[in-house]
Symmetry: C2
Subunit: 325 residues, 2 copies
Protein backbone atom coordinates (compact mmCIF):
# COMPACT_ATOMS: atom_id res chain seq x y z
CA UNK A 1 0.00 0.00 0.00
CA UNK A 2 1.49 3.39 -0.94
CA UNK A 3 1.14 6.48 1.21
CA UNK A 4 -1.37 7.73 -1.37
CA UNK A 5 -3.57 4.65 -0.95
CA UNK A 6 -3.30 4.80 2.79
CA UNK A 7 -4.58 8.35 2.76
CA UNK A 8 -7.58 7.70 0.48
CA UNK A 9 -9.87 7.65 3.49
CA UNK A 10 -8.81 11.15 4.54
CA UNK A 11 -8.01 12.53 1.07
CA UNK A 12 -10.81 15.15 1.19
CA UNK A 13 -9.59 16.23 4.65
CA UNK A 14 -6.01 16.47 3.46
CA UNK A 15 -7.08 18.55 0.45
CA UNK A 16 -8.92 20.92 2.75
CA UNK A 17 -5.86 21.01 5.01
CA UNK A 18 -3.66 22.08 2.09
CA UNK A 19 -6.11 24.82 1.20
CA UNK A 20 -6.23 26.00 4.81
CA UNK A 21 -2.46 26.03 5.25
CA UNK A 22 -2.02 27.97 2.00
CA UNK A 23 -4.70 30.50 2.81
CA UNK A 24 -2.63 33.52 3.81
CA UNK A 25 -5.31 36.07 2.95
CA UNK A 26 -5.23 37.29 6.55
CA UNK A 27 -1.46 37.93 6.52
CA UNK A 28 -1.19 41.66 6.03
CA UNK A 29 2.54 41.78 5.36
CA UNK A 30 3.16 40.43 1.83
CA UNK A 31 6.74 39.08 2.24
CA UNK A 32 5.58 37.09 5.25
CA UNK A 33 2.65 35.67 3.27
CA UNK A 34 5.10 34.60 0.56
CA UNK A 35 7.40 32.84 3.03
CA UNK A 36 4.52 30.99 4.67
CA UNK A 37 3.17 29.89 1.29
CA UNK A 38 6.60 28.64 0.23
CA UNK A 39 7.14 26.75 3.46
CA UNK A 40 3.79 24.99 3.45
CA UNK A 41 3.86 24.34 -0.31
CA UNK A 42 7.28 22.73 -0.10
CA UNK A 43 5.43 19.72 1.19
CA UNK A 44 6.48 17.18 3.67
CA UNK A 45 4.50 14.04 4.17
CA UNK A 46 1.81 15.61 6.39
CA UNK A 47 2.20 12.54 8.60
CA UNK A 48 1.40 14.40 11.80
CA UNK A 49 -1.86 15.98 10.61
CA UNK A 50 -2.74 12.67 8.92
CA UNK A 51 -2.54 10.97 12.32
CA UNK A 52 -4.90 13.59 13.75
CA UNK A 53 -7.32 13.24 10.82
CA UNK A 54 -7.32 9.44 11.01
CA UNK A 55 -8.02 9.52 14.73
CA UNK A 56 -10.82 11.95 13.92
CA UNK A 57 -12.31 9.30 11.63
CA UNK A 58 -12.52 7.01 14.65
CA UNK A 59 -13.83 9.67 17.04
CA UNK A 60 -15.36 12.36 14.84
CA UNK A 61 -15.42 15.91 16.11
CA UNK A 62 -16.93 18.88 14.33
CA UNK A 63 -15.24 18.81 10.89
CA UNK A 64 -13.99 22.40 11.01
CA UNK A 65 -12.46 21.92 14.43
CA UNK A 66 -10.74 18.70 13.41
CA UNK A 67 -9.31 20.52 10.41
CA UNK A 68 -8.11 23.34 12.67
CA UNK A 69 -6.34 20.86 14.90
CA UNK A 70 -4.63 19.20 11.93
CA UNK A 71 -3.51 22.62 10.68
CA UNK A 72 -2.24 23.55 14.15
CA UNK A 73 -0.14 20.38 14.39
CA UNK A 74 1.43 20.90 10.96
CA UNK A 75 2.04 24.62 11.54
CA UNK A 76 3.68 23.94 14.91
CA UNK A 77 5.94 21.44 13.15
CA UNK A 78 6.76 23.96 10.39
CA UNK A 79 7.43 26.79 12.84
CA UNK A 80 9.77 24.54 14.78
CA UNK A 81 11.62 23.65 11.55
CA UNK A 82 12.17 27.36 10.83
CA UNK A 83 13.94 27.83 14.17
CA UNK A 84 15.73 24.47 13.74
CA UNK A 85 17.07 25.55 10.38
CA UNK A 86 18.22 28.78 11.93
CA UNK A 87 19.94 26.82 14.69
CA UNK A 88 21.53 24.41 12.23
CA UNK A 89 22.31 27.15 9.72
CA UNK A 90 20.69 24.85 7.17
CA UNK A 91 20.50 26.21 3.64
CA UNK A 92 17.92 23.83 2.21
CA UNK A 93 14.76 22.24 3.63
CA UNK A 94 12.54 19.99 1.54
CA UNK A 95 14.59 21.01 -1.51
CA UNK A 96 13.91 24.72 -1.12
CA UNK A 97 16.10 27.42 0.38
CA UNK A 98 15.40 27.79 4.11
CA UNK A 99 14.09 31.06 5.48
CA UNK A 100 17.42 31.73 7.15
CA UNK A 101 19.28 31.28 3.86
CA UNK A 102 17.23 34.13 2.35
CA UNK A 103 16.29 36.32 5.30
CA UNK A 104 18.48 37.73 8.04
CA UNK A 105 18.73 35.77 11.31
CA UNK A 106 16.51 38.21 13.10
CA UNK A 107 13.82 38.07 10.41
CA UNK A 108 14.03 34.27 10.45
CA UNK A 109 13.45 34.18 14.19
CA UNK A 110 10.46 36.43 13.88
CA UNK A 111 9.07 34.51 10.90
CA UNK A 112 9.16 31.38 13.07
CA UNK A 113 7.49 33.31 15.89
CA UNK A 114 4.76 34.36 13.50
CA UNK A 115 4.15 30.75 12.58
CA UNK A 116 3.92 29.79 16.26
CA UNK A 117 1.26 32.49 16.52
CA UNK A 118 -0.48 31.05 13.46
CA UNK A 119 -0.42 27.57 14.96
CA UNK A 120 -1.88 29.04 18.14
CA UNK A 121 -4.66 30.67 16.10
CA UNK A 122 -5.51 27.35 14.50
CA UNK A 123 -5.58 25.60 17.86
CA UNK A 124 -7.77 28.39 19.26
CA UNK A 125 -10.28 27.54 16.51
CA UNK A 126 -10.81 24.12 18.09
CA UNK A 127 -12.40 26.00 21.02
CA UNK A 128 -11.33 23.09 23.20
CA UNK A 129 -9.40 24.07 26.34
CA UNK A 130 -7.90 20.60 26.77
CA UNK A 131 -6.54 20.67 23.21
CA UNK A 132 -5.11 24.14 23.77
CA UNK A 133 -3.43 22.97 26.95
CA UNK A 134 -1.92 19.90 25.26
CA UNK A 135 -0.65 22.10 22.48
CA UNK A 136 1.02 24.59 24.84
CA UNK A 137 2.57 21.81 26.91
CA UNK A 138 3.94 20.14 23.78
CA UNK A 139 5.58 23.35 22.59
CA UNK A 140 7.42 23.53 25.91
CA UNK A 141 8.46 19.88 25.78
CA UNK A 142 9.85 20.32 22.26
CA UNK A 143 11.80 23.46 23.09
CA UNK A 144 13.13 22.28 26.46
CA UNK A 145 14.38 19.13 24.74
CA UNK A 146 16.21 21.14 22.14
CA UNK A 147 17.80 23.39 24.75
CA UNK A 148 18.96 20.39 26.71
CA UNK A 149 20.59 19.04 23.57
CA UNK A 150 22.26 22.35 22.77
CA UNK A 151 23.94 22.47 26.14
CA UNK A 152 24.80 18.80 26.43
CA UNK A 153 26.23 18.39 22.95
CA UNK A 154 29.32 16.23 22.86
CA UNK A 155 30.20 16.51 26.53
CA UNK A 156 29.75 12.87 27.49
CA UNK A 157 28.30 9.80 25.86
CA UNK A 158 24.58 10.11 26.62
CA UNK A 159 22.68 7.30 28.27
CA UNK A 160 19.86 5.53 26.49
CA UNK A 161 17.45 7.48 28.68
CA UNK A 162 19.04 10.73 27.51
CA UNK A 163 18.58 9.59 23.95
CA UNK A 164 14.95 8.58 24.40
CA UNK A 165 14.18 11.85 26.18
CA UNK A 166 15.74 13.78 23.31
CA UNK A 167 13.86 12.05 20.50
CA UNK A 168 10.66 12.33 22.50
CA UNK A 169 11.05 16.12 22.44
CA UNK A 170 12.30 16.17 18.87
CA UNK A 171 9.64 13.94 17.29
CA UNK A 172 7.43 11.75 19.46
CA UNK A 173 5.88 14.61 21.46
CA UNK A 174 4.24 16.04 18.34
CA UNK A 175 3.01 12.64 17.12
CA UNK A 176 1.60 11.99 20.60
CA UNK A 177 -0.07 15.41 20.54
CA UNK A 178 -1.64 14.75 17.13
CA UNK A 179 -3.22 11.48 18.24
CA UNK A 180 -4.16 12.49 21.78
CA UNK A 181 -5.59 15.90 20.91
CA UNK A 182 -7.69 14.48 18.06
CA UNK A 183 -9.08 11.83 20.42
CA UNK A 184 -9.83 14.46 23.07
CA UNK A 185 -11.47 16.70 20.48
CA UNK A 186 -13.67 13.77 19.40
CA UNK A 187 -14.73 13.12 23.01
CA UNK A 188 -13.19 9.66 23.00
CA UNK A 189 -13.37 7.84 26.37
CA UNK A 190 -10.42 8.74 28.63
CA UNK A 191 -8.94 5.26 28.27
CA UNK A 192 -9.00 5.51 24.47
CA UNK A 193 -7.42 8.97 24.60
CA UNK A 194 -4.59 7.42 26.64
CA UNK A 195 -4.17 4.56 24.19
CA UNK A 196 -4.05 6.90 21.23
CA UNK A 197 -1.47 9.03 22.99
CA UNK A 198 0.57 5.83 23.52
CA UNK A 199 0.15 5.02 19.85
CA UNK A 200 1.39 8.47 18.78
CA UNK A 201 4.26 8.35 21.23
CA UNK A 202 5.56 4.93 20.10
CA UNK A 203 4.98 5.72 16.43
CA UNK A 204 6.99 8.92 16.81
CA UNK A 205 9.77 7.16 18.70
CA UNK A 206 9.96 4.41 16.07
CA UNK A 207 9.92 7.00 13.29
CA UNK A 208 12.84 8.94 14.81
CA UNK A 209 14.92 5.82 15.54
CA UNK A 210 14.52 4.87 11.86
CA UNK A 211 15.55 8.38 10.86
CA UNK A 212 18.64 8.01 13.03
CA UNK A 213 19.44 4.61 11.45
CA UNK A 214 19.00 6.03 7.94
CA UNK A 215 21.55 8.70 8.80
CA UNK A 216 24.04 5.80 8.78
CA UNK A 217 22.65 3.44 6.16
CA UNK A 218 21.07 5.64 3.50
CA UNK A 219 22.61 6.30 0.16
CA UNK A 220 24.40 9.68 0.28
CA UNK A 221 22.52 10.79 -2.82
CA UNK A 222 19.13 9.94 -1.27
CA UNK A 223 20.14 11.56 2.00
CA UNK A 224 21.41 14.67 0.22
CA UNK A 225 24.25 15.02 2.73
CA UNK A 226 27.17 12.92 4.02
CA UNK A 227 26.17 9.86 6.05
CA UNK A 228 26.77 10.14 9.78
CA UNK A 229 25.87 13.82 9.77
CA UNK A 230 24.46 13.61 13.29
CA UNK A 231 27.64 12.28 14.85
CA UNK A 232 29.74 14.76 12.90
CA UNK A 233 27.65 17.47 14.58
CA UNK A 234 28.18 15.83 17.95
CA UNK A 235 24.75 14.24 18.21
CA UNK A 236 24.89 10.64 19.43
CA UNK A 237 22.02 8.46 18.26
CA UNK A 238 20.90 4.91 19.00
CA UNK A 239 23.19 3.07 16.53
CA UNK A 240 26.23 4.66 18.19
CA UNK A 241 24.94 3.88 21.68
CA UNK A 242 24.40 0.24 20.76
CA UNK A 243 27.79 0.09 19.05
CA UNK A 244 29.37 1.50 22.23
CA UNK A 245 27.59 -1.13 24.33
CA UNK A 246 28.77 -3.87 22.02
CA UNK A 247 32.31 -2.53 21.54
CA UNK A 248 33.12 -0.44 24.63
CA UNK A 249 36.85 -0.44 23.95
CA UNK A 250 36.70 0.65 20.29
CA UNK A 251 39.65 3.05 19.85
CA UNK A 252 37.78 5.40 17.49
CA UNK A 253 35.02 5.77 20.07
CA UNK A 254 37.57 6.65 22.75
CA UNK A 255 39.18 9.23 20.46
CA UNK A 256 35.79 10.80 19.76
CA UNK A 257 35.58 11.86 23.42
CA UNK A 258 39.26 12.58 23.90
CA UNK A 259 39.15 14.99 20.98
CA UNK A 260 35.79 16.52 21.76
CA UNK A 261 37.35 20.00 22.03
CA UNK A 262 39.54 19.53 18.96
CA UNK A 263 37.46 20.04 15.82
CA UNK A 264 39.71 18.42 13.23
CA UNK A 265 40.64 15.28 15.17
CA UNK A 266 37.10 14.95 16.46
CA UNK A 267 35.69 14.94 12.92
CA UNK A 268 38.21 12.32 11.83
CA UNK A 269 37.27 10.15 14.81
CA UNK A 270 33.58 10.70 14.06
CA UNK A 271 34.08 9.51 10.48
CA UNK A 272 35.86 6.41 11.78
CA UNK A 273 33.05 5.66 14.21
CA UNK A 274 30.45 6.18 11.47
CA UNK A 275 32.21 3.68 9.22
CA UNK A 276 32.51 1.18 12.07
CA UNK A 277 28.85 1.56 13.07
CA UNK A 278 27.70 1.06 9.45
CA UNK A 279 29.51 -2.26 9.30
CA UNK A 280 28.49 -3.42 12.76
CA UNK A 281 25.62 -5.42 14.19
CA UNK A 282 24.45 -2.22 15.91
CA UNK A 283 22.41 -1.23 12.86
CA UNK A 284 20.33 -4.38 12.92
CA UNK A 285 19.93 -4.14 16.70
CA UNK A 286 18.68 -0.56 16.35
CA UNK A 287 16.25 -1.67 13.63
CA UNK A 288 14.93 -4.35 15.97
CA UNK A 289 14.36 -1.68 18.56
CA UNK A 290 12.49 0.51 16.08
CA UNK A 291 10.33 -2.47 15.13
CA UNK A 292 9.59 -3.15 18.80
CA UNK A 293 8.47 0.46 19.22
CA UNK A 294 6.25 0.25 16.15
CA UNK A 295 4.79 -2.97 17.54
CA UNK A 296 3.95 -1.16 20.77
CA UNK A 297 2.25 1.55 18.72
CA UNK A 298 0.17 -1.10 16.96
CA UNK A 299 -0.57 -2.84 20.26
CA UNK A 300 -1.92 0.40 21.71
CA UNK A 301 -4.53 0.42 18.94
CA UNK A 302 -5.60 -3.19 19.45
CA UNK A 303 -8.08 -2.51 22.25
CA UNK A 304 -9.82 0.24 20.26
CA UNK A 305 -12.94 -0.49 18.21
CA UNK A 306 -12.16 -1.94 14.77
CA UNK A 307 -12.33 0.70 12.04
CA UNK A 308 -10.66 1.30 8.67
CA UNK A 309 -8.87 4.31 10.16
CA UNK A 310 -7.48 2.17 12.97
CA UNK A 311 -5.98 -0.26 10.45
CA UNK A 312 -4.40 2.60 8.52
CA UNK A 313 -2.88 4.02 11.69
CA UNK A 314 -1.40 0.60 12.43
CA UNK A 315 -0.11 0.36 8.88
CA UNK A 316 1.52 3.79 9.11
CA UNK A 317 3.50 2.73 12.17
CA UNK A 318 4.54 -0.55 10.55
CA UNK A 319 5.62 1.23 7.38
CA UNK A 320 7.67 3.81 9.26
CA UNK A 321 10.14 1.14 10.34
CA UNK A 322 10.46 -0.53 6.94
CA UNK A 323 11.15 2.65 4.97
CA UNK A 324 14.44 2.99 3.15
CA UNK A 325 14.60 6.80 2.93
CA UNK B 1 -0.65 58.97 43.72
CA UNK B 2 2.32 56.65 43.28
CA UNK B 3 2.22 53.42 41.30
CA UNK B 4 2.24 51.58 44.65
CA UNK B 5 -0.89 53.41 45.84
CA UNK B 6 -2.62 52.90 42.52
CA UNK B 7 -2.07 49.17 42.77
CA UNK B 8 -3.35 48.80 46.37
CA UNK B 9 -6.67 47.50 45.07
CA UNK B 10 -4.99 44.67 43.19
CA UNK B 11 -1.99 44.19 45.49
CA UNK B 12 -3.03 40.65 46.55
CA UNK B 13 -3.53 39.74 42.87
CA UNK B 14 -0.14 41.16 41.93
CA UNK B 15 1.52 39.24 44.75
CA UNK B 16 -0.07 36.03 43.51
CA UNK B 17 1.02 36.94 39.98
CA UNK B 18 4.64 37.26 41.12
CA UNK B 19 4.45 33.87 42.82
CA UNK B 20 2.91 32.32 39.72
CA UNK B 21 5.47 33.79 37.33
CA UNK B 22 8.32 32.64 39.58
CA UNK B 23 6.97 29.13 40.02
CA UNK B 24 9.22 27.15 37.69
CA UNK B 25 8.76 23.84 39.51
CA UNK B 26 7.42 22.32 36.30
CA UNK B 27 10.49 23.31 34.25
CA UNK B 28 12.48 20.11 34.04
CA UNK B 29 15.64 21.63 32.61
CA UNK B 30 17.40 23.57 35.42
CA UNK B 31 19.29 26.20 33.35
CA UNK B 32 16.01 27.14 31.69
CA UNK B 33 14.31 27.45 35.08
CA UNK B 34 17.12 29.78 36.19
CA UNK B 35 16.78 32.00 33.12
CA UNK B 36 13.01 32.28 33.50
CA UNK B 37 13.34 33.13 37.18
CA UNK B 38 15.94 35.81 36.41
CA UNK B 39 13.85 37.32 33.66
CA UNK B 40 10.64 37.53 35.66
CA UNK B 41 12.41 38.59 38.86
CA UNK B 42 14.17 41.45 37.08
CA UNK B 43 10.87 43.24 37.36
CA UNK B 44 9.30 45.69 35.06
CA UNK B 45 6.26 47.64 36.08
CA UNK B 46 3.75 44.82 35.45
CA UNK B 47 1.58 47.48 33.79
CA UNK B 48 0.05 45.06 31.26
CA UNK B 49 -1.08 42.44 33.79
CA UNK B 50 -2.19 45.26 36.10
CA UNK B 51 -4.54 46.46 33.36
CA UNK B 52 -5.97 42.94 33.08
CA UNK B 53 -6.34 42.61 36.87
CA UNK B 54 -8.01 46.02 37.20
CA UNK B 55 -10.47 45.20 34.42
CA UNK B 56 -11.11 41.95 36.28
CA UNK B 57 -12.10 44.02 39.33
CA UNK B 58 -14.80 45.62 37.18
CA UNK B 59 -15.94 42.35 35.55
CA UNK B 60 -14.79 39.58 37.86
CA UNK B 61 -14.05 36.19 36.38
CA UNK B 62 -12.99 33.10 38.30
CA UNK B 63 -9.96 34.31 40.30
CA UNK B 64 -7.61 31.58 39.07
CA UNK B 65 -8.49 32.21 35.45
CA UNK B 66 -8.01 35.94 35.82
CA UNK B 67 -4.60 35.28 37.34
CA UNK B 68 -3.73 32.95 34.46
CA UNK B 69 -4.64 35.65 31.95
CA UNK B 70 -2.49 38.22 33.76
CA UNK B 71 0.42 35.76 33.78
CA UNK B 72 -0.09 35.01 30.07
CA UNK B 73 0.01 38.70 29.18
CA UNK B 74 3.21 39.31 31.15
CA UNK B 75 4.89 36.14 29.86
CA UNK B 76 4.04 37.00 26.25
CA UNK B 77 5.61 40.41 26.85
CA UNK B 78 8.71 38.83 28.42
CA UNK B 79 9.09 36.25 25.63
CA UNK B 80 8.87 38.98 23.05
CA UNK B 81 11.57 40.96 24.90
CA UNK B 82 13.90 37.94 24.74
CA UNK B 83 13.64 37.84 20.95
CA UNK B 84 13.79 41.64 20.78
CA UNK B 85 17.02 41.66 22.74
CA UNK B 86 18.38 39.02 20.42
CA UNK B 87 17.37 41.15 17.46
CA UNK B 88 18.84 44.30 18.96
CA UNK B 89 21.89 42.47 20.32
CA UNK B 90 21.12 44.22 23.58
CA UNK B 91 23.40 43.35 26.49
CA UNK B 92 21.26 44.61 29.34
CA UNK B 93 17.52 44.56 30.04
CA UNK B 94 16.05 45.91 33.25
CA UNK B 95 19.59 46.24 34.61
CA UNK B 96 20.43 42.54 34.15
CA UNK B 97 22.37 40.81 31.38
CA UNK B 98 20.03 39.74 28.57
CA UNK B 99 19.69 36.08 27.73
CA UNK B 100 21.55 36.62 24.47
CA UNK B 101 24.49 38.22 26.30
CA UNK B 102 24.95 35.00 28.29
CA UNK B 103 23.58 32.23 26.05
CA UNK B 104 24.33 31.56 22.42
CA UNK B 105 21.97 33.02 19.78
CA UNK B 106 20.37 29.65 19.17
CA UNK B 107 19.76 29.02 22.86
CA UNK B 108 18.33 32.52 23.20
CA UNK B 109 15.89 31.90 20.37
CA UNK B 110 14.75 28.66 21.95
CA UNK B 111 14.52 30.22 25.43
CA UNK B 112 12.16 32.79 23.93
CA UNK B 113 10.20 30.00 22.23
CA UNK B 114 9.88 28.23 25.54
CA UNK B 115 8.43 31.35 27.10
CA UNK B 116 5.92 31.65 24.27
CA UNK B 117 4.92 28.08 25.11
CA UNK B 118 4.66 29.05 28.76
CA UNK B 119 2.48 32.03 27.92
CA UNK B 120 0.30 29.68 25.85
CA UNK B 121 0.00 27.33 28.83
CA UNK B 122 -1.14 30.19 31.04
CA UNK B 123 -3.70 31.31 28.48
CA UNK B 124 -4.92 27.71 28.12
CA UNK B 125 -5.66 27.78 31.86
CA UNK B 126 -8.29 30.45 31.24
CA UNK B 127 -10.25 27.72 29.39
CA UNK B 128 -11.82 30.53 27.37
CA UNK B 129 -11.65 30.04 23.57
CA UNK B 130 -12.20 33.75 22.88
CA UNK B 131 -9.29 34.69 25.13
CA UNK B 132 -7.06 32.08 23.47
CA UNK B 133 -8.01 33.44 20.05
CA UNK B 134 -7.27 37.03 21.06
CA UNK B 135 -3.93 35.94 22.44
CA UNK B 136 -2.92 34.07 19.26
CA UNK B 137 -4.03 36.96 17.06
CA UNK B 138 -2.04 39.42 19.16
CA UNK B 139 1.13 37.36 18.88
CA UNK B 140 0.81 37.53 15.10
CA UNK B 141 0.13 41.27 15.12
CA UNK B 142 3.20 41.90 17.29
CA UNK B 143 5.50 39.77 15.16
CA UNK B 144 4.22 40.95 11.77
CA UNK B 145 4.74 44.52 12.95
CA UNK B 146 8.32 43.78 13.90
CA UNK B 147 9.05 42.08 10.59
CA UNK B 148 7.62 45.03 8.72
CA UNK B 149 9.93 47.32 10.65
CA UNK B 150 12.97 45.12 10.01
CA UNK B 151 12.47 45.30 6.28
CA UNK B 152 11.44 48.93 6.06
CA UNK B 153 14.15 50.34 8.27
CA UNK B 154 15.60 53.63 7.04
CA UNK B 155 14.46 53.29 3.44
CA UNK B 156 12.12 56.27 3.31
CA UNK B 157 10.62 58.65 5.84
CA UNK B 158 7.60 56.70 7.15
CA UNK B 159 4.18 58.25 7.11
CA UNK B 160 2.29 58.89 10.32
CA UNK B 161 0.15 55.86 9.49
CA UNK B 162 3.29 53.72 9.22
CA UNK B 163 4.37 55.00 12.61
CA UNK B 164 1.02 54.36 14.27
CA UNK B 165 0.84 50.87 12.77
CA UNK B 166 4.32 50.13 14.10
CA UNK B 167 3.70 51.26 17.68
CA UNK B 168 0.37 49.43 17.66
CA UNK B 169 2.27 46.18 17.03
CA UNK B 170 5.11 47.09 19.35
CA UNK B 171 3.06 48.20 22.35
CA UNK B 172 -0.63 49.00 21.98
CA UNK B 173 -1.66 45.52 20.77
CA UNK B 174 -0.63 43.94 24.06
CA UNK B 175 -2.29 46.66 26.19
CA UNK B 176 -5.44 46.21 24.09
CA UNK B 177 -5.24 42.45 24.59
CA UNK B 178 -4.86 42.82 28.37
CA UNK B 179 -7.97 44.98 28.69
CA UNK B 180 -10.13 43.23 26.09
CA UNK B 181 -9.32 39.67 27.14
CA UNK B 182 -9.94 40.45 30.82
CA UNK B 183 -13.30 41.96 29.92
CA UNK B 184 -14.19 38.95 27.76
CA UNK B 185 -13.11 36.58 30.52
CA UNK B 186 -15.38 38.44 32.98
CA UNK B 187 -18.33 38.14 30.58
CA UNK B 188 -18.62 41.90 30.22
CA UNK B 189 -21.29 43.03 27.73
CA UNK B 190 -19.93 43.17 24.16
CA UNK B 191 -20.09 46.97 24.14
CA UNK B 192 -18.01 47.19 27.30
CA UNK B 193 -15.48 44.71 25.89
CA UNK B 194 -15.11 47.01 22.89
CA UNK B 195 -14.68 50.07 25.09
CA UNK B 196 -12.05 48.39 27.21
CA UNK B 197 -10.19 47.32 24.09
CA UNK B 198 -10.30 50.99 22.97
CA UNK B 199 -8.99 51.99 26.37
CA UNK B 200 -6.09 49.54 26.17
CA UNK B 201 -5.30 50.53 22.61
CA UNK B 202 -5.17 54.28 23.31
CA UNK B 203 -3.33 53.79 26.60
CA UNK B 204 -0.71 51.70 24.80
CA UNK B 205 -0.37 54.19 21.98
CA UNK B 206 0.02 57.09 24.44
CA UNK B 207 2.54 55.08 26.44
CA UNK B 208 4.69 54.35 23.38
CA UNK B 209 4.55 57.93 22.08
CA UNK B 210 5.80 59.07 25.49
CA UNK B 211 8.57 56.47 25.33
CA UNK B 212 9.55 57.83 21.94
CA UNK B 213 9.56 61.39 23.27
CA UNK B 214 11.68 60.39 26.27
CA UNK B 215 14.24 58.94 23.87
CA UNK B 216 14.89 62.60 22.94
CA UNK B 217 14.26 64.46 26.17
CA UNK B 218 15.42 62.13 28.94
CA UNK B 219 18.60 62.58 30.83
CA UNK B 220 21.26 60.26 29.37
CA UNK B 221 21.96 58.88 32.84
CA UNK B 222 18.30 58.03 33.44
CA UNK B 223 17.98 56.58 29.96
CA UNK B 224 21.14 54.51 30.37
CA UNK B 225 22.06 55.11 26.72
CA UNK B 226 22.65 58.06 24.37
CA UNK B 227 19.58 60.14 23.57
CA UNK B 228 18.19 59.70 20.09
CA UNK B 229 19.02 55.99 20.10
CA UNK B 230 16.02 55.17 17.92
CA UNK B 231 17.00 57.51 15.11
CA UNK B 232 20.61 56.38 15.30
CA UNK B 233 19.31 52.86 14.66
CA UNK B 234 17.22 54.13 11.76
CA UNK B 235 13.89 54.11 13.57
CA UNK B 236 11.86 57.25 12.93
CA UNK B 237 9.45 58.18 15.71
CA UNK B 238 6.77 60.82 16.13
CA UNK B 239 9.01 63.72 17.25
CA UNK B 240 11.04 63.36 14.03
CA UNK B 241 7.91 63.09 11.89
CA UNK B 242 6.49 66.28 13.41
CA UNK B 243 9.84 68.03 13.06
CA UNK B 244 9.91 67.03 9.39
CA UNK B 245 6.40 68.38 8.90
CA UNK B 246 7.35 71.65 10.58
CA UNK B 247 10.79 71.98 8.93
CA UNK B 248 10.59 70.04 5.67
CA UNK B 249 13.73 71.70 4.26
CA UNK B 250 16.01 71.08 7.25
CA UNK B 251 19.42 70.20 5.76
CA UNK B 252 20.26 67.57 8.42
CA UNK B 253 17.00 65.78 7.66
CA UNK B 254 17.83 65.72 3.95
CA UNK B 255 21.31 64.36 4.70
CA UNK B 256 19.81 61.62 6.87
CA UNK B 257 18.16 60.11 3.79
CA UNK B 258 20.92 60.94 1.33
CA UNK B 259 23.40 59.10 3.53
CA UNK B 260 21.11 56.22 4.46
CA UNK B 261 23.58 53.70 2.98
CA UNK B 262 26.64 55.43 4.46
CA UNK B 263 26.98 54.45 8.12
CA UNK B 264 29.33 57.20 9.32
CA UNK B 265 27.69 60.16 7.59
CA UNK B 266 24.23 58.84 8.42
CA UNK B 267 25.07 58.71 12.14
CA UNK B 268 26.45 62.25 12.05
CA UNK B 269 23.27 63.43 10.32
CA UNK B 270 21.15 61.48 12.85
CA UNK B 271 22.94 63.22 15.74
CA UNK B 272 22.29 66.59 14.11
CA UNK B 273 18.60 65.79 13.65
CA UNK B 274 18.35 64.58 17.26
CA UNK B 275 19.82 67.84 18.54
CA UNK B 276 17.49 69.86 16.29
CA UNK B 277 14.42 67.88 17.35
CA UNK B 278 15.26 68.29 21.04
CA UNK B 279 15.32 72.07 20.64
CA UNK B 280 12.26 72.24 18.42
CA UNK B 281 8.54 72.68 19.00
CA UNK B 282 8.08 69.10 17.76
CA UNK B 283 8.60 67.72 21.28
CA UNK B 284 5.73 69.72 22.74
CA UNK B 285 3.53 68.86 19.74
CA UNK B 286 4.27 65.15 20.23
CA UNK B 287 3.45 65.48 23.94
CA UNK B 288 0.13 67.07 23.03
CA UNK B 289 -0.56 64.08 20.81
CA UNK B 290 0.28 61.64 23.59
CA UNK B 291 -2.04 63.55 25.92
CA UNK B 292 -4.82 63.42 23.33
CA UNK B 293 -4.39 59.64 23.09
CA UNK B 294 -4.47 59.28 26.88
CA UNK B 295 -7.62 61.42 26.89
CA UNK B 296 -9.23 59.03 24.38
CA UNK B 297 -8.27 56.13 26.65
CA UNK B 298 -9.98 57.89 29.57
CA UNK B 299 -12.99 58.74 27.41
CA UNK B 300 -13.41 55.06 26.50
CA UNK B 301 -13.88 54.34 30.20
CA UNK B 302 -16.42 57.08 30.81
CA UNK B 303 -19.46 55.07 29.68
CA UNK B 304 -18.56 52.13 31.93
CA UNK B 305 -20.06 51.75 35.41
CA UNK B 306 -18.27 53.82 38.06
CA UNK B 307 -15.85 51.71 40.08
CA UNK B 308 -12.60 52.26 41.95
CA UNK B 309 -10.81 50.10 39.37
CA UNK B 310 -12.17 52.28 36.55
CA UNK B 311 -10.72 55.40 38.18
CA UNK B 312 -7.36 53.71 38.60
CA UNK B 313 -7.32 52.66 34.95
CA UNK B 314 -8.04 56.28 33.99
CA UNK B 315 -5.32 57.48 36.29
CA UNK B 316 -2.79 55.02 34.81
CA UNK B 317 -3.39 56.41 31.33
CA UNK B 318 -3.13 60.00 32.56
CA UNK B 319 0.09 59.23 34.42
CA UNK B 320 1.68 57.52 31.43
CA UNK B 321 1.84 60.83 29.57
CA UNK B 322 3.19 62.87 32.47
CA UNK B 323 6.06 60.54 33.34
CA UNK B 324 9.62 61.81 33.10
CA UNK B 325 11.45 58.48 32.71
Amino acid sequence: MTTQDRFTLIRPDLDRLEAKLRDVSDVTYPPLATVITQLVSAGGKRLRPAVALLVNQMYPADAERALSLAAAVEMLHTASLVHDDFIDEAALRRGHPTVNAVWSPIATVRAGDYMFGRAASYVAETENPEVVRLFADTLQVIVAGELRQLFNRAETLPTRDDYYARIYGKTAALFALAAQAAAALGDAPAESVGRLRDYGYHFGMAFQVMDDILDFTADEKTLGKPVGGDLREGIVTLPVLIYAEQTPDAPALRRLWEYRADGVNRLAAADEVVAAVRDSAAIEAARAEARAMAARAEAALAALPAAPARDILADLAATAVSRQD
